[in-house]
């Protein structure tokens, strides 16, 4: 991709990368300027999680956010536009290792969705976050890519798309 996406020294924002590692794997990475315990906390406490999961620019909101972060515990996120529900995503946590690892299922799809593994690796006060999605089949990931239903959030990406259009090619081009 182009240089425009590199970490921006003026804003202090770190670079987010996305890579298709294999036929069934999609990997997102990002570094945060904080210790792992803090980044982990933001992923595992609903009151914190709901403050950042839906970027404000997208016009959607989290109507509810239930997270029982322990092995076997369930989560359910309900998304809405203007107070009415448009979609929900849910699943359960299958591994919870505080401050270093979270694994959960994504069950809203028809034939079982991806398994998401998050790792938090602390290095010199910074935390490297790696989000790894393993799809049940090559077709499942291809379908995800082809449909634009990234992360089971078609509406969100629609809005992202509109958002990018309104930026008028000034971004990432």
């Amino acid at each position: 991709m182009d240089a425009k996406g590199e970490g921006d020294p003026t804003s202090g924002k770190n670079r987010t990368t996305v890579e298709r590692k294999s036929e069934r794997e999609l990997v997102v990475t990002r570094t945060f300027n904080a210790p792992a315990r803090i980044v982990f906390e933001a992923w595992s406490k609903p009151e914190l999680f709901k403050r950042w999961w839906v970027p404000k620019s997208m016009g959607m909101s989290l109507l509810s956010c239930e997270m029982d972060v322990r092995v076997g515990g369930k989560y359910r996120l309900v998304f809405g536009v203007g107070g009415s529900k448009v979609m929900e995503v849910f699943g359960k946590y299958i591994e919870v290792t505080p401050h270093s690892r979270l694994v959960w299922t994504n069950e809203e799809g028809d034939e079982g969705g991806a398994i998401t593994t998050l790792t938090f690796e602390e290095m010199g006060g910074q935390t490297l976050l790696v989000k790894h999605d393993l799809y049940p089949s090559k077709e499942a990931l291809d379908g995800e890519l082809a449909s634009g239903a990234a992360d089971g959030m078609p509406e969100q990406l629609d809005q992202l798309d509109e958002f990018l259009v309104t930026l008028g090619g000034s971004l990432g081009r």
């Binding site: 991709m1 403050r51 890519l145 449909s147 990234a150």
Partner: protein, 121 residues
Amino acid sequence: MVQYPTARLDASFAALSDATRRGVLEQLGRADASITDLAEKFHMTLTGMKKHVSVLEQAGLVTTEKVGRVRTCKLGPRRLAEETAWIEAYRQLWASRFDELDKVVEELKQKEKADGRKRRG
């Protein structure tokens, strides 16, 4: 979101699932090459390289042209535009999400610092 033709994406991602084929694309990004050049560069038989190139060709990532006895390969006209666009949109989603997360994280850091001061004080 633009709807991408599924069959084409299937073909191109399948083509990209092989390290040699990705290497061939990188190579062709630098300069056109004959199948013989490519076979040599990747330490492969001519037949093996022909197969790889044909997978890339079917996915529309590479075009070939026979001039005399030499088949020259070059990048296809569409390159990886659609795949790159999808990945870029997905990256933007996560980048904006993580920028918001930065704010939450910064707040937690400040709070931790303040709590630490209180405990010591």
